[in-house]
């Protein structure tokens, strides 16, 4: 049965991957829909460059396709494995890169319709840019930990597996990252919180 690209599948990740390995085209579509938004969000937060983030996401999914026939059911979570691969690819690119922050306004989606005024929408975009710039200034490992914890909303245990470190090390990285972010953003606090002053 042909399914439209945006139809959800109710199979779990491993069952979908097993179906993909048997040649099921719909399983390929569902896996793509399920994982690419999360990977794209993670890669763009790490790299601050949409084109590079797209390359990382495509390469990560390609490795999943290669791995599908060899995947052992009941083993590691597919999501965790994907974040591990994407992390390695992002860190490789960060180390090769010499340029700095490159997020532009165009990389940030427009605020939703619930924004009451155009000015409020601009403030929100401004806050996001400020956060991305601050994250971009963090050391790689702190950036990775803070993005996985507070933007991807993963648990410390899962982050420890992705980063290949202990849970205490993850907690320490996150604490340092938050301290550094607060310090960076503190200089602009009044400007960014202007609309909350009544």
């Amino acid at each position: 049965m042909q399914m439209p690209l945006d139809s959800p599948s109710y199979l779990d990740d491993q069952a979908l991957l097993a179906q993909f390995a048997k040649g099921d085209r719909d399983a390929a579509r569902n896996l793509t829909l399920r994982f690419t938004p999360r990977l794209m969000r993670y890669a763009i937060r790490m790299l601050s460059d949409r084109l590079e983030a797209e390359d990382v996401v495509q390469e990560t999914m390609l490795r999943l396709w290669h791995q599908a026939p060899l995947w052992q059911a009941g083993g590691a979570k597919i999501e965790t494995w994907l974040y591990q691969v994407a992390s390695h690819l992002c860190i490789d690119r960060l180390r090769k890169r010499k340029k700095g922050f490159s997020v532009s306004l165009n990389d940030i989606d427009e605020p939703g319709d619930e924004q009451p005024t155009a000015e409020a929408g601009l403030m929100e975009k401004d806050r996001q840019i400020a956060l991305y710039k601050a994250i971009d200034l963090l050391p790689e490992r702190q950036r990775q930990a803070i993005v996985l914890r507070h933007i991807e909303d993963l648990g410390n245990g899962e982050i420890a597996v992705i980063m290949g470190i202990g849970i205490e090390a993850v907690e320490s990285l996150i604490a340092w990252a938050k301290r550094n972010l607060a310090a960076i953003l503190a200089g602009r606090q009044d400007e960014l919180m202007k609309d909350e002053v009544h």
Binding site: L5, F20, A21, G23, R25, A28, R29, L31, T32, L33, T36, P37, R38, M40, R41, I44, R45, R50, A53, E54, V57, Q58, M61, L62, W65, H66, A68, P69, D107, I108, D109, P111, G112, E124, R127, Q128, A130, L131, H150, I151, D153, K178, L181, A182, A183, L185, A186, Q189, M193
Partner: protein, 116 residues
């Protein structure tokens, strides 16, 4: 900056994930379908009722299909034609390869017996 403010920043970032372009999704799906097609080709069963035909079909598919086979055949036939009926321009060149000529033989490793 207070912790609550930093959490607001994160909550906003989580609420507006970047869009995945249709172009990226298409590229990812193309990779997936290509992989599945490769697996299907390798796993295609051999029909035992026509074994030689199926073996030949798989062999030619691995070589690159009809285009590659036709190129190889054309090269082979050209070579045979040149061998049996060489063009006039090659008439002087071929005898040197086709006829046997006496050669001088030099013993580069003379026997040790000469020194005994």
């Amino acid at each position: 900056m207070r912790k609550a403010n930093l959490d607001d920043f994160f909550a906003q970032a989580r609420s507006q994930p970047p869009e995945v372009s249709f172009d990226l999704q298409s590229r990812i799906l193309s990779d997936a379908f290509l992989m599945q097609d490769q697996w299907a080709r390798k796993a295609a069963p051999i029909n035992s009722s026509n074994l030689w035909f199926d073996v030949a079909k798989h062999f030619f598919a691995e070589l690159g299909g009809a285009m590659s086979i036709s190129s190889v055949l054309a090269a082979a036939l050209s070579g045979m034609w040149v061998g049996f009926a060489p063009p006039a321009a090659l008439a002087d060149v071929f005898p040197a390869f086709l006829t046997t000529q006496q050669s001088d033989i030099f013993d580069l490793l003379p026997s040790d017996n000469e020194f005994q």
